[in-house]
C-alpha cells in the first residue's frame, strides 16, 4: 500500500479511538436522559469529581484540608497512606453512589414534573456546585492519576503495520496509543454489561419500563425514586471510568470537566436515548473530525483552495452532527418523535 493510504488509515484508526473516548462520556448522558428525561450537564463535572476523589483517596489526601487549615489553623495535608488502586476505585464508586443518593434526595425529588429546561438548568447548577465542592475538597491543583493502565505507543502494532508498506518506502508504521485500546475494551465491556443488566435483571427491566413510560411503570409498582438513584449511580460509574481514562491521559485538573463538550455532538448524532447510538455516534464523530482536520491541513487542500485553516475539530463535530440532524431530527438511533396536538 502507498504511504498516503496508510497515513489515511492511521488517522482513521486514531479517530475511531478518540471517538470511543468521547462515547465514554456520552454514555453517562444517555443513561440519565433515557430513564428520566433529564439532560444531565453535570456529567463532565461528575467525571472530574470522580477522578479527583480517586486520586485523593489513593494518595491519602485529607479532604477539605485547605478549609480546615484556614479555619482552625492546623496544617494537615495527607493522611500518609497509599491506597491500592482497586480499593480506591471501589471506595470512589461508593462516593459516587452516595452522590447519586443525595442528588435524588435533595434535587430531583423536588423537581418532579418540571419542564425539561428547568431540570437541565438544575443540572448546570449541580455542575457548578460539584466543581466548587470538588475544588474545596481536593484542591484545584493538578494531580497525577495512575491506576496502572497501559499507555504509550503500541510497538507490536507499529511493527505489524510497517510490513504493509513497501520496505524501500521508509514507512515507520502506525501509531496507536495503548491507553486508547484499553479504553475501547473497557467501553465494550461497559456496553455489554449494561445491556446484560438491563435485559436480564429485575432492576434492569424496571429501568427499561421507566424509560418506556414513567406513569405506566409507577402504576405497576416500580419505585421511580429507587430507579433514579440507581441510574445516577450507574452514571456515576460511567463518569468514574471516563474520569480514569481521560485523567490518565491529561492529569486530573479542572479542565477535565470540559470533556462534556466533546460528548454533546456525539449525543446529537447518536440520539439522546440510545446506548449503541452513543458508541456509533462517538465513532463517527471521532473519525469524522480527525479525517476532516487531516484533509484541510493537507498540502493538497491548501494547494487546491488557497485556504490555510486548522484547529477545526471543536466546531466540525457539531456541524457534522447538525447536518445529520437536518435529515434525522431524532439522531441516528433516537426514539422517533411523534407529535400530536
Amino acid at each position: 500500500m502507498s504511504i498516503e493510504a496508510l497515513n489515511l488509515i492511521e488517522v482513521l484508526i486514531n479517530g475511531l479511538m478518540a471517538g470511543v473516548m468521547y462515547a465514554l462520556v456520552a454514555l453517562g448522558f444517555v443513561l440519565i436522559f433515557k430513564s428520566s428525561g433529564i439532560f444531565n450537564y453535570a456529567q463532565g463535572v461528575m467525571a472530574l469529581f470522580a477522578a479527583m476523589t480517586l486520586v485523593g483517596l489513593q494518595t491519602g489526601q485529607v479532604p477539605f484540608a485547605h478549609l480546615l487549615n484556614a479555619i482552625t489553623g492546623m496544617h494537615v495535608t495527607h493522611f500518609g497512606w497509599n491506597m491500592p488502586s482497586g480499593l480506591a476505585i471501589l471506595l470512589t464508586l461508593g462516593v459516587m453512589v452516595g452522590l447519586a443518593f443525595l442528588v435524588e434526595r435533595l434535587v430531583l425529588k423536588h423537581l418532579v414534573n418540571q419542564e425539561p429546561i428547568i431540570l437541565f438548568m438544575a443540572t448546570i447548577g449541580l455542575a457548578f456546585f460539584l466543581e466548587g465542592f470538588g475544588d474545596l475538597m481536593w484542591t484545584a491543583e493538578i494531580k497525577q492519576l495512575d491506576v496502572g493502565l497501559p499507555g504509550g505507543l503500541s510497538e507490536w502494532f507499529e511493527g505489524a503495520s510497517m510490513a504493509l508498506a513497501d520496505p524501500e518506502a521508509g514507512y515507520w508504521g502506525m501509531y496507536v496509543d495503548k491507553l486508547d485500546v484499553t479504553a475501547a475494551v473497557v467501553a465494550a465491556l461497559l456496553v455489554i454489561s449494561l445491556t446484560l443488566f438491563s435485559q436480564y435483571t429485575r432492576a434492569g427491566r424496571a429501568l427499561r419500563a421507566v424509560a418506556d413510560d414513567h406513569q405506566a411503570a409507577l402504576s405497576v409498582g416500580i419505585s421511580l425514586r429507587f430507579i433514579w438513584v440507581m441510574v445516577w449511580s450507574i452514571a456515576g460509574l460511567v463518569a468514574l471510568v471516563a474520569g480514569i481514562m481521560w485523567g490518565s491521559k491529561t492529569g486530573v485538573q479542572t479542565s477535565l470537566s470540559l470533556i462534556a463538550l466533546k460528548a454533546l455532538p456525539v449525543l446529537m448524532l447518536g440520539g439522546f436515548t440510545s446506548i449503541p447510538g452513543a458508541i456509533v455516534g462517538g465513532l463517527i464523530i471521532g473519525a469524522g473530525e480527525k479525517l476532516f482536520e487531516y484533509f484541510v491541513t493537507s498540502d493538497a487542500f491548501h494547494g487546491l483552495t488557497g485556504f490555510n485553516i486548522d484547529a477545526t475539530e471543536n466546531w466540525f463535530a457539531y456541524v457534522l452532527a447538525l447536518l445529520f440532524l437536518v435529515f434525522r431530527p431524532q439522531g441516528l438511533f433516537g426514539d422517533r418523535i411523534i407529535e400530536r396536538v
Partner: protein
C-alpha cells in the same frame, strides 16, 4: 395609596391596554427611570460603572434577546456567546472602517448584522427541536468563535488577534476608550437598553409576540390555526440576535474596550445568559433584568463578603462562591421554577388584595 385598579378609571382603549395598568406601578416605573437617568449619573464612579452597572446593562440587553428566543418563542439556544462575538466584531470592523460613523449607529448596525447571522443559524430550527436544537446552536457558538480567531481580516491583522476599541464620541462626549467618563458610558448604554426594552415589551404584546408564544406553547397547534412556523421562528431568531448583537457590541466597545474572542465570547457566556433568563423568569422582560442583576451582583457580593468582610483566602472564597452560586440556582429552581418574575407577580397579586385577602 393602595395598590389596585379601583378608582383609577380608564377612558380609552389605549389606556386600558397600557403596560402598567395600576397607577402605583406607573409612578414606581417613572421613579425608577428618574433615578436611573437623573440621579445615578451624578453618583457613579469607575468601580460602580465597570463592576456593576455596565455589566448589568449589557447583560440585561443580551438577556432580553435570549428571552425573546427561548422564553417567548421556546427555541432553546446555546449560541449566545457566538452571536455576541458577531456583534462585537461587527462593531470593531465598522468602527475602524468608517471612523466618521457615529458609535450609536455602529451599535445598531452591529445588531443588524448579527440578526442576519442569527437567521442563518436559525434555519435548522425548522427541523430540529428541543435539546437537539440547543446542541445544534452550539455549532454556531464554536464555528463563529473559530472563525473570528482564524481569519485575520476580522481583527485587522493585529499581531495577537486581540481587538481594541478606538475612541468614539456622541455629541462630542467620549463613550468608548479608556478616557470615557463613567457617566457617559453608563448613559449611552442605558439609553440603548431603555429603547430596546421598550420595543421588546411592545413587540411581545403585539401580534408578533403572540405568534411566538403560540409556537412556544405548541408548534403544531399553532401551525393549524394559521401561524406560519418558518416566519415566526426566523423572526424570533432575527429579533433575538439583534438584541444579542447590540449587547455584544456594547460589551466590547463600551464596557471592556478590548476583547479576545475565545476568552470573551466562549461557551460559558452562553450558559451565563441562559442562567439569567431562567433565574429571572422565562417569557418576561422584567425577568431578564432581574436575572441579569442577580447573576452580576451575587458573585460580587459574595466575594466582598467572604474576602473583604471575613478575610478568607481568595481561593477558598472563589470555590465557595461557585458552590454557593450552584446551590442557589438549584434551590431557586426548586422553590420557584418560574423565576424571580413569578415571585414579583405573586407579590403584586398579594398586594392587590391586601389588606383583605378574602
Amino acid at each position: 395609596m393602595f395598590y389596585r385598579e379601583a378608582g383609577d378609571f380608564k377612558t380609552s382603549y389605549s389606556d386600558d391596554g397600557q403596560t402598567f395598568p395600576i397607577a402605583f406601578d406607573r409612578w414606581r416605573y417613572y421613579a425608577v427611570m428618574a433615578v436611573a437617568f437623573l440621579v445615578i449619573p451624578f453618583l457613579i464612579n469607575d468601580y460602580w460603572e465597570k463592576s456593576i452597572l455596565m455589566p448589568f446593562l449589557v447583560w440585561s440587553t443580551v438577556a432580553i434577546g435570549l428571552n425573546i428566543l427561548t422564553g417567548y418563542c421556546g427555541q432553546l439556544s446555546l449560541g449566545t456567546g457566538g452571536f455576541m462575538a458577531v456583534g462585537a466584531y461587527a462593531s470593531y470592523k465598522l468602527m475602524t472602517a468608517f471612523p466618521e460613523l457615529n458609535i450609536f449607529f455602529v451599535v445598531l448596525l452591529s445588531g443588524g448584522i448579527t440578526a442576519l447571522v442569527g437567521v442563518l443559524f436559525g434555519l435548522p430550527s425548522m427541523r430540529i427541536k428541543g435539546f437537539y436544537l440547543a446542541v445544534a446552536t452550539l455549532a454556531a457558538q464554536f464555528f463563529l468563535v473559530w472563525l473570528f480567531n482564524k481569519v485575520p481580516w476580522f481583527y485587522n491583522y493585529s499581531a495577537s488577534g486581540q481587538i481594541t476599541a478606538p475612541e468614539r464620541s456622541v455629541f462630542g462626549i467620549l463613550v468608548t476608550g479608556p478616557n470615557a467618563a463613567p457617566w457617559a458610558t453608563y448613559l449611552f448604554a442605558l439609553v440603548i437598553l431603555t429603547g430596546l426594552a421598550w420595543v421588546a415589551r411592545n413587540l411581545t404584546r403585539g401580534r408578533v409576540g403572540r405568534s411566538w408564544m403560540a409556537i412556544r406553547d405548541m408548534d403544531i397547534a399553532a401551525e393549524i390555526i394559521g401561524v406560519n412556523p418558518l416566519a415566526t421562528k426566523l423572526s424570533a431568531f432575527a429579533v433575538s440576535s439583534f438584541y444579542i448583537g447590540v449587547g455584544g457590541a456594547l460589551f466590547f466597545s463600551v464596557y471592556l474596550g478590548a476583547a479576545e474572542v475565545g476568552e470573551a465570547f466562549g461557551i460559558d457566556k452562553s450558559f451565563l445568559v441562559l442562567f439569567m433568563i431562567i433565574i429571572g423568569g422565562l417569557g418576561s422582560i422584567f425577568g431578564s433584568f432581574a436575572g441579569a442583576a442577580f447573576m452580576v451582583l451575587l458573585p460580587v457580593l459574595l466575594k466582598n463578603v467572604l474576602v473583604g468582610g471575613l478575610g478568607w483566602p481568595t481561593d477558598l472564597a472563589a470555590h465557595l462562591q461557585m458552590l454557593i452560586v450552584g446551590g442557589l440556582i438549584v434551590l431557586f429552581l426548586i422553590l420557584e421554577p418560574h423565576g424571580l418574575a413569578q415571585l414579583w407577580r405573586i407579590a403584586k397579586e398579594k398586594l392587590r388584595l391586601w389588606p383583605f385577602p378574602h
